[in-house]
Subunit: 308 residues, 2 copies
């Protein structure tokens, strides 16, 4: 008997879908997210329809999860802080409208926490129980698994991107200064390298451009320093690095590992695996599917308190 | 029927003992630790005897735990990194000799992790499941509870004192530079205040001395910044601040709370309780007793891997 799990991932640009049978990925799909001011409900409807269409050939869905690029109120199913999603999402019902179209409950999860769960179960974290995950992209997100499950604390634990790197650094959307999210983002790296985009910077680094190499090294060092704090606090079994920016490879990961090992030397960092994420662009949707299933069965830590 | 639990705490200066019946503290005792080069085994024997003597009036012991001021190999029961304990402790059997004298197994635990467990069960953390604890004293120690249990990760999770505060700061015993442990220790505060001891600095601060007030404010800010990283990563229900230096009170805790709230504003810090530890000088011994009992019953997370 199949246990079909639907995972939806409403990203800042694209909507993604994954259909799982247990832990086997049967199908994935993606489309532009369609989100815009005044088009929020239409975007949710289109996402649900993409999910239903992708799942239809396989049978009846057992559970569904929805990944979002920010914070939400898990209990009310509404948006809280979704700055990367075009439109007006604060206090807007999100889980309800999608659940209605799917005909089953929808559990919300942060997109990088979803990626963390997917990597923990099916990717670079498989076999481990305690994992720290960081996703480097437009922003810097994170996730923490403890004892084989996502750790959410009172709501949104794992916000690696909002650890302070430079107390006098640039103002962050969260209200703090010098957050990693601002200092190792795709835009920060591009600006630091004097290029228009992080892809341009990566190409320049591959061609040996010193400014681009230095920019990736600085970003890697900043991420490594924050990961060192996480490692010293949590002594995880593995560290996983995902996100589009991580595709730059060793120009970023080399300095990251070096700084992590220098700063977290009180922990057994010499033998701590620092691994690239394995599941690719649909990791968030896959993780949302896992999360939806765990939420439906009541085994997940859905957070013990209210959102900010 | 009583369930007598013995807790031993081999501190850098004093040895302490607590005898519990379940979670009720029946008796405590303390004595100079007797540790010195060449006197290591005698110190362990004296600690065990103090424990037996304190417990004798109450009946037969069911379990025992031993708190140590540093790192150990939990599986082998030997010392690994105990710089604050006079004598030679690296690779020395510790659990075995004490267990032999007590006639029952002895579970080792770091002293601040023991304090964290005691506060979680019987002190400022009672009723909570996720707690971050910091102890300010000769050094800066920490402990993390997740889901109502100590989190140890691959061995010694919770090392808040070894999070980097200043990348170019003073060299730490761990090999890193600018660890909180070096920059908010009793000695660092005293030196910063231009006083011989932290007690002198606290007295000067109470009398309104600007240099002393600034020294406590700087230390509080550093601790607050590292606690902010822990809060952003873990979204705990409570933060607990213990240790002798915390007795300085608001001159330290005020700046600590302010920096924590400033830096961790992505999390619900406005409503996050930051509480003084409640259990006083024997918290480590009480926590060791709780730990010994949990280890004996197999319910504790004894760490999933080898020590550094």
């Amino acid at each position: 008997v199949r246990t079909l799990r639907l995972g939806l991932d409403l990203g800042g640009t694209d909507a993604k879908v994954a259909v799982l049978d247990g832990e086997a990925v049967l199908a994935t799909a993606s489309a532009p997210n369609g989100a815009a001011p005044g088009r929020e409900e239409a975007a949710l409807a289109a996402l649900a329809e993409l999910g239903l269409r992708t799942a239809a050939p396989f049978g009846r869905l057992a559970s569904a999860g929805l990944a979002l690029p920010g914070h939400f109120d898990a209990e009310r199913g509404t948006g809280v802080l979704l700055p990367n999603l075009p439109g007006a999402w604060v206090d807007r019902p999100i889980a309800g409208p999608v659940a209605e179209r799917l005909g089953l409950p929808v559990a919300l999860v942060n997109d990088v926490r979803a990626l963390t769960l997917a990597e923990l179960r099916l990717g670079a974290g498989a076999g481990a129980r305690d994992v720290v995950c960081v996703a480097l992209g437009t922003g810097v997100g994170g996730g923490i698994a403890i004892g084989g499950a996502l750790h959410l604390g009172t709501g949104h634990a794992g916000e690696i991107g909002h650890v302070t790197v430079d107390p006098e650094g640039p103002l962050c959307g969260c209200g703090n200064r010098g957050c990693l999210d601002r200092m190792a983002s795709a835009a920060a790296i591009a600006a630091d390298a004097g290029r228009a985009t992080v892809a341009d910077a990566a190409a320049a680094a591959r061609a040996g451009d010193p400014a681009a190499l230095a920019a990736f090294a600085r970003a890697g060092e900043r991420v490594g320093r924050v990961l060192a704090a996480a490692v010293v606090l949590l002594w995880p079994e593995r560290v996983i690095v995902g996100g589009g920016v991580a595709a730059a490879g060793e120009v970023l990961l080399g300095p990251l590992r070096a700084e992590l090992r220098r700063r977290a030397c009180v922990a057994p960092v010499a033998t701590l695996p620092v691994l690239p994420a394995r599941l690719g662009a649909h990791a968030g949707a896959v993780g949302a599917a896992l999360w939806g299933s765990e939420a439906a069965s009541g085994t997940s830590d859905r957070g013990r308190g209210t959102d900010r």
